[in-house]
């Protein structure tokens, strides 16, 4: 063996040893029984005092890994299932639930107060692999000023959106890359059925719907009713967003207006439910279970709405005044069985793409 070769072999060997040493050291850190790691999408926000209470009561330190948007966080969790990045995954919604369950992402744990979850939000009742944590509606929002200036009634239902008065007014998101975009597509599929939804979208396209890639662009740039959209010169008075967006326009405004500048077309809503679950190969399952139990406590459920702009799922949890006042929850939203979503989602998105984007 020449000197060079020996030298190289030593370097490679040393390198690998050092690298694997770094690796095991780190993973030992996250497998520490005192730390519980929550993997979540980027929207996770909790009040510091609430998490501090949990840490004090349970004795666990909470570590949060925000891992991209909801779809990315779930996909990465599936790919890394055998050696997960954390113990609990939060943020699987009903449009992604089957993908997560079919891939064996979660192990069973019946959270302590799960009998207090409102019945319509429960899922996977035989095995308890997931726990519903929050819910929200994807709805068309409208710019109140635009419609009152023109003495035009804002649209109320999906049917209204294809009518002539609302031509060229709506902006929505790409169903293949955006979760509200997908939710809106599923809402139309739930309403008009397997045969009718494509026709509906043809009409919507003929009525001048605009599609952009993500929610940020649609809401903050194209929509004329949001604070961001006003600044950017947005000129579409209708946008696919959330039922909680109007209260957000009030809460995050300074000075606060008396009433929300935007409203919700209640007949256009599709209900999303977000779940959390204990990851299959969690290194700290006990800590993960404690964290899941905590997510259903009244304290957490009360704290959540104004942080993440979602509704609680626990019976009797406080819905904030701002929500009641500025954006009441839709009474009769479209919903769809996760199994049906799983079965059709890809096909629908594909047809939708060639129908609307091409």
């Amino acid at each position: 063996m020449s000197n060079t070769k020996k030298f190289t072999a030593v370097v490679v060997g040393l390198g690998l040893v050092t690298l694997s040493a770094c690796g095991s050291e780190e993973s030992a850190g996250s497998g520490d029984s005192k730390t519980v790691t929550l993997v979540s999408h980027d929207s996770w926000v909790v009040s510091k005092s609430v998490i501090a209470d949990f840490e004090k009561q349970s004795g666990y330190q909470v570590k949060v890994l925000k891992d991209g948007d909801a779809g990315q966080a779930v996909n990465k969790a599936i790919l890394t299932k055998d050696n997960p990045q954390g113990d609990v995954l939060f943020g699987v919604d009903n449009t992604l639930l089957s993908r997560a369950l079919d891939n064996g992402l979660f192990q069973p744990h019946e959270a302590k107060d799960s009998d207090l979850v409102l019945p319509e939000y429960r899922a996977d009742q035989e095995q308890h692999r997931v726990t519903a944590v929050d819910t929200g509606d994807i709805c068309v929002n409208y710019d109140k000023a635009y419609f009152s200036e023109r003495k035009l009634e804002p649209p109320k239902t999906l049917d209204d959106l294809v009518e002539p008065p609302y031509k060229n007014l709506l902006v929505t998101e790409n169903a293949s890359t955006s979760s509200p975009g997908l939710g809106f597509l599923l809402g139309t599929a739930a309403k008009y059925g397997d045969d009718g939804w494509a026709d509906y979208w043809k009409k919507l396209k003929a009525n001048g719907v605009k599609v952009v890639d993500g929610w940020e662009q649609a809401y903050n740039e194209e929509f004329s009713g949001s604070a961001g959209g006003k600044k950017a010169g947005g000129d579409r008075p209708l946008v696919v967003s959330y039922a909680s967006s109007p209260p957000a326009e009030v809460v995050f405004a300074d000075p606060k207006p008396k009433t929300a500048p935007t409203g919700v077309a209640e007949g256009t809503c599709f209900r999303q439910v977000e779940y959390a679950g204990l990851l299959s190969n969690a290194k700290n399952p006990e800590g993960g279970k404690a964290l899941l139990d905590f997510m259903l406590t009244k304290q957490f459920q009360d704290d959540m709405p104004l942080n993440m702009f979602v509704y609680p799922v626990r019976e009797g949890a406080q819905v904030p005044q701002e929500f009641v006042k500025y954006g009441p929850q839709a009474k009769d939203p479209q919903t769809m069985d996760p199994a049906k979503i799983a079965e059709n989602r890809d096909e629908w998105v594909k047809s939708w793409t060639s129908l609307v984007l091409k």
């Binding site: 070769k5 890994l65 091409k358």
Partner: protein
């Protein structure tokens, strides 16, 4: 007698050269096998395998989808158009930088290279700020180019201008102008002289530059994603969507293979043109070929190039800087130091420290791996295997970053390579992109070292290591520094793979910029611009230092 003994000794050394070369290649080969081939194979394999059996039938299924054909078609034609447009706009620039002496040339050459090492998120954002809704052009004349193919093409020119200026201009500066003058003395017209003397000498460099630009635009991700809207999609963007949004790993795997094949073909052609260029020319010192422009025509050309650079390259960068200040001054920069807002678990300013420390480690890895590879590839007796490896080293530039990132996630999570939770993953991924630049910078310089010097040292009894240290190292030290600088700048800017593996609490600058851009609100946008400006300044400083270190033959970049 003595002579014969020396010859025997020399032959033995040359014979050992083969073994030594393999030894030198061991580390680069191991590095690429473990940190590139294995992760990519793992994720592609995951996509093509279902229930333990290979699904090659799916290849045809995916390839015959009309959507996939549309993507392939758009990817190809926009890359061809981008390449043509870049050559059209940048070749006069290459000429001006090569043949004219003018004040501020060094600084300007560094500045036009800044876009090339900026992450595409920042480039895309700069263009949006210029040509998007509410951008400068919109405010002035109501011109909006976002979601049109023009925005994509112009951004690609912005991005790749430096590739042409450096590759073609670098060689042009070293061509002896007297050859062309001689042709004219013999009665050839200016055009004929240029066409028959200069053009053939330049052609391989132009071809190489064109292929590099084609490679970069064919695999364009951030620019297309940000500027293209939902209607335009390259293979790279489609692989990203299929992997992260739709989770159709099979389609992603097939598209990865398609891109792999296309890029492999481009690289093979590239390797061929590079070889032709290296053997064919006799060069002179660049410093003697440049002189002040003479006559109205040359001044007009210089002015034209400077105006083009100002409008196409400096303006977007300036808009970015301008947007990083609010009405009252430094509010966005101050906000970078605060922790609240919920976007990060740390103040965004920490991203600077993260980026710098990752880039230092990535540079060390890239210089070690790329340097060893370049030394091994220098040997004149390099066989086909070694030359093939030369092209292979370029592959990371052409393989989807999301494929590499996801590959890292699933492949490097078990002992003895349990790196997933480790910080080293990020520099490793960045080094993959840095190595090609190190190799391309070092190779021409190393090849220019006269073999006879090494042989003389060997004859005098020096070990290969000593010969390298005494002969090669002094001559290539500056090139080594330039290579390190490039690897550093490229690591700073790497986005695609980093975004998948950077830990959420340790974002790099480009990752932090992208996350801030994904959040609504004025303050987030302003902070993204401020961070981009900081990144830009760091890159520019690194490149200016490089300009000072430039040797006569600093390779292809």
């Amino acid at each position: 007698m003595d002579v014969a003994r020396t010859e025997v000794a020399l032959k033995r050394r040359v014979g050992r050269g083969g073994a030594a070369r393999l030894g030198l290649l061991a580390l680069p080969v191991a590095f690429f096998a473990v940190f590139f081939a294995y992760p990519v194979a793992a994720i592609v394999g995951r996509g093509l395998k279902a229930d333990g059996t290979w699904q090659f039938g799916r290849l045809a299924d995916v390839l015959t989808q009309s959507g996939v054909r549309d993507v392939l078609w758009f990817t190809t034609w926009q890359a061809l158009a981008s390449t043509a447009l870049t050559l059209l706009i940048a070749l006069p620039g290459a000429y001006v930088f090569a043949r004219f002496a003018f004040p501020g040339k060094q600084v300007l050459r560094a500045v036009v290279t800044v876009p090339f090492v900026l992450p595409t998120v920042v480039v895309g954002t700069a263009f949006l700020a210029l040509a998007g809704r509410g951008g400068l052009l919109d405010e002035l004349w109501g011109v909006r180019l976002d979601t049109t193919v023009w925005a994509i093409l112009l951004a690609h020119v912005f991005f790749n201008y430096a590739v042409v200026v450096r590759t073609v201009g670098g060689l042009w500066a070293q061509l002896d102008p007297r050859q062309e003058e001689a042709a004219r003395m013999l009665g050839a017209s200016r055009l004929t002289a240029w066409r028959t003397v200069t053009l053939p000498a330049l052609a391989p460099a132009v071809a190489a530059a064109a292929l590099m630009v084609f490679l970069f635009t064919f695999t364009s991700f951030g620019v297309v994603q940000i500027l293209g809207g939902p209607t335009f999609s390259t293979l790279e963007v489609e692989i990203y969507r299929q992997t992260t949004e739709i989770f159709d790993l099979t389609t992603a795997a097939v598209l990865t293979l398609v891109q792999f094949t296309a890029v492999g073909a481009v690289l093979a052609v590239h390797a061929w043109t590079v070889r032709r260029r290296e053997t064919a020319l006799r060069l002179v010192d660049a410093s003697v070929t440049a002189r002040r422009p003479r006559g109205a025509g040359q001044w007009a050309l210089l002015a034209g190039v400077l105006v083009t650079i100002a409008v196409l390259l400096l303006l977007p960068l300036a808009v970015l800087v301008q947007r990083s200040f609010d009405a009252s001054g430094f509010a966005y920069y101050r906000a970078l130091t605060s922790e609240d807002g919920g976007t990060f678990l740390v103040p965004p300013i920490d991203a600077i420290g993260n980026s710098l420390s990752y880039a230092v480690v990535a540079t060390a890895i890239a210089v070690l791996v790329g340097g060893l590879a370049a030394v091994a590839l220098t040997r004149r007796d390099a066989g086909r295997f070694v030359r093939g490896f030369d092209a292979l080293l370029m592959l990371p530039l052409g393989v989807s970053a999301v494929t590499v990132g996801f590959g890292f996630l699933i492949a490097l999570d078990e002992p003895p390579l349990n790196l997933r939770a480790s910080w080293i993953l990020v520099p490793l991924a960045q080094a993959l992109v840095g190595v090609p630049f190190v190799v391309r910078t070092m190779l021409p310089v190393l090849r220019a070292v006269d073999v006879r010097l090494r042989e003389a040292a060997a004859v005098l009894g020096a070990s290969p290591w000593r010969a390298w240290r005494e002969v090669d190292l002094p001559m290539v030290r500056r090139a080594l520094l330039v290579a390190a600088g490039f690897a550093f700048a490229v690591s700073l800017g790497e986005f695609g793979a980093t975004v998948f593996i950077a830990r959420p609490d340790r974002p790099t600058l480009p990752v932090a910029v992208a996350r801030l851009l994904g959040r609504p609100g004025d303050l987030n946008y302003g902070q993204a611009m401020a961070l981009s400006t900081i990144l830009m300044v760091v890159c520019a400083v690194a490149l200016l230092v490089l300009e000072r270190l430039r040797t006569d033959r600093t390779g292809e970049f």
